[in-house]
């Protein structure tokens, strides 16, 4: 039998105060923080990100700065390398002339028989071979002497 006056009511209701910001405030806050973070990320990417096939309209400023820094140095470095290469070639020709001086009809130098080609892309393998109509196939000089491999800026 129930006690006199009935049972006590069951305590199921929340008996704790609500503290701190409400749910929507937290949701809104997190969203705002994330939005700001992605905004900064996007701005940072525009500042920095390298892109392989960059177009003039792309705003990638740190990469552009690096590229132009290198581009301004290319003539200087190429000039120095050319002088060195020319000196070495002349020395090699002088050696050849000295060694082969007793061979009648020997034509010194394979030089000038091939065409100097510039590689627009180091990965472009088919361009490594000098043009067939200019290259003397009877000439046994190594191809590497006829192909001048220049440092190429990928990002242009």
């Amino acid at each position: 039998m129930p006690p006199a006056g009935g049972f006590e009511s069951i305590k199921y209701k929340r008996n704790l105060p609500f503290r701190g910001p409400g749910a929507y405030a937290i949701l809104g806050g997190v969203t705002a923080i994330c939005a700001y973070g992605f905004y900064r990320l996007g701005k940072g990417n525009l500042e920095r990100r390298p892109k392989l096939e960059a177009e003039p309209s792309d705003d990638r400023e740190l990469e552009r700065e690096k590229m132009w820094s290198r581009i301004h140095l290319v003539p200087l470095l190429t000039a120095e390398g050319d002088r060195d290469q020319y000196r070495r070639e002349q020395a090699a020709l002088a050696r050849e002339r000295e060694i082969m001086k007793d061979v009648a009809g020997w034509e010194v130098s394979a030089r000038g028989k091939g065409k100097w080609v510039m590689l627009t892309n180091p990965a472009g393998g088919e361009k490594r071979i000098p043009q067939p109509e200019i290259r003397d196939t009877g000439d046994s000089s190594p191809l590497s002497r006829l192909v001048y491999n220049e440092p190429v800026c990928f990002f242009l």
């Binding site: 500042e47 132009w68 000039a79 120095e80 050319d82 002088r83 020319y86």
Partner: protein
Amino acid sequence: MSQVHQQGGVYPPKEYVESAPMPANIPHVDEVGATSGPLKSASFFIGAYCKEYNEDFMLCKNENRDPAHCLKEGRKVTRCAIDLITKMRENCAQQFDAHWECLEKRNQEFYLCRKQERKLNSCMFEKLGLTKTIPGSPAGQPQIHEVQNPIYKPIQK
């Protein structure tokens, strides 16, 4: 072509040094002799100061890739660069040294050395009238080296 050597892999164990001098009919020119840090620090000023010589050289190289073809233009390029670096050392030696030493320490990244770079840039403008301009930067905005509060900046001050 390359022989397999015992110690040096496919490369010869010792680098071959060509000791023969340049043929006497080629005029002598000193090489620049600067390492990568100073060159990178000076690059935009080289681009500004030696524009004509650099463009002339590259147009010449465009005619013919043969190293012998553009020796004369190349000497002009090198002399101009030496001239510029000498002037930089006469006028802005302290700022120049500070900047390229910073570049050496900071992985040769421009954005990590803006403080030193601004001093160098202002000195170069005052003394030599040269400015750093990055071609192709968006018009109407400060260029990346002039942005006051960039996103990418050194974490260590």
